[in-house]
Subunit: 267 residues, 2 copies
């Protein structure tokens, strides 16, 4: 990386991408996204999935950025500002002191699936509207080695700032694609057995067996997956104690993906 | 329940417990807590663990309160206010429109454990400082039928407003006790096998076997459980894919409690 570029004026046009972070979260960034913190930026750079466009760091964090993002290309500018100027730019006290702007590079869902190996595990999401849950789902997909995540058009954005943070960067490292197409059709057409998690599922999770290509489909808490979707899947339930019939969807994904990882490791 | 008591003045002394909810969250309520929403209040009343002192409902929610909390004793006053007055009382727009004040009734940890049957499952928590995680841990404890939760003195409060909400009321229904004592000593002294979850655990979760009395001990993400604690437990790990070495602690509890529920159901 080249020498940091000092920024003394919060209105400097070179750091326009970082201005009013929360307001911009709401209106969108036209193909760009914000990544917060050095750990997340390291993952972004290491994964090389979405290009990093620039970094803004508080002065006391610049040395750490230089050390831990040493592989940064010279073309990626690193802007340095005092903590006060940085807070004024982003619009709130930014304790982490390191932000980056990334550029979305999402494959088409068909291309993503076509590139998967003969043995593969996919996480498919439908109607996930909460960024905490989205982040947790990606975190678990990464923890249990899912090859890709298929994100239905009715889901929130995995590259929303909070979703990236909750995913501990997994949203930047795990291949994913958004699609308007029917998830089950896309997957079944490529030889995936689609497991749909639902409290009324016909099979217990403990009875599940491995298949070379498996996809685990999760819907929103509350409404869950539509009947028309469930009818085309192998439905699976997690038995629960009396009175409770639903787990948090991210927790559900952790339980299911852990089981699938065990099965696939043993198969 | 008796007829609702109309409240027209946000400064009415009868609803002092509901005033400035967020400010009061921070300073504490001296033995009382706030429960939000009808679903959570129903669980509070049905469980009968912590007494309900009063209810405050927006006018358009009073009929639902009367119907679904029909078993309320006459001594529990139900206050009714317009949405505007209710918002003024609590200090923010309260869309759920139903709040209750409960009174803490927590047993001593020793008494709680001594009352458990010969076959029992306990969740033990150390250093859990995040209310989202606390709520998620209780939600999972309830979903998988844990008999009790033991909360270390270094944990945040399960009856904090947000923790109750995230637990979907499980913090009000699952027996729990806070203790200054050593958790492992308390449990081991009563014949519990203490399983400590840690990325470096010697046994894989998939290899675990059942025992009549088991406790699953969870520590904070990041620091995890201290070595001095781990040394006195059966340590268990959840294998993960390369690059990831930690799951969210609530998700971890879901994975572990699901497995223990399977083992105990089959035993």
């Amino acid at each position: 990386m080249i020498a940091p570029i000092a920024i003394a004026d919060p209105d400097d046009p070179r750091i326009a991408d970082y201005r009013g972070v929360r307001e911009r979260d709401l209106v969108g960034r036209e193909g760009r996204f914000v990544a917060e913190g050095l750990v997340v930026l390291e993952k972004l750079v290491a994964a090389g999935r979405h290009p990093l466009r620039s970094v803004l760091a508080a002065e006391h964090r610049v040395a750490a950025v230089a050390e831990r993002l040493a592989g940064l290309a010279a073309e990626v500018p690193v802007y340095a500002a005092s903590q006060g100027v940085m807070d004024a730019i982003v619009g709130f006290p930014i304790h982490r002191g390191v932000l980056g702007i990334g550029e979305r590079a999402e494959p088409a869902a068909e291309a993503l699936l076509d590139a998967l190996p003969a043995k593969a595990l996919v996480v498919a999401l439908q109607g996930i509207a909460n960024h905490d849950n989205m982040g947790g789902l990606f975190r678990n997909a990464a923890a249990f080695g899912a090859d890709a995540v298929l994100v239905g058009a009715d889901c929130c954005d995995p590259l929303y700032r909070k979703a990236i943070r909750v995913s501990v960067g997994a949203a930047l490292t795990t291949p994913f694609a958004r699609t308007e197409s029917d998830l089950v059709e896309l997957l079944a057409g490529r030889g995936f057995e689609v497991l749909a998690l639902t409290p009324g599922g016909t099979e217990r999770l403990a009875e599940l067996t491995a298949a070379p290509r498996q996809a685990a489909l999760f819907g929103a808490e509350g409404p869950g997956l539509p009947e028309a979707v469930l009818a085309r899947c192998r439905t699976v339930r997690i038995p629960m104690a009396g009175g409770f019939d639903s787990l948090n969807v991210a927790t559900t994904s952790g339980i299911v993906l852990n089981r699938l990882a065990e099965l696939r490791g043993a198969a």
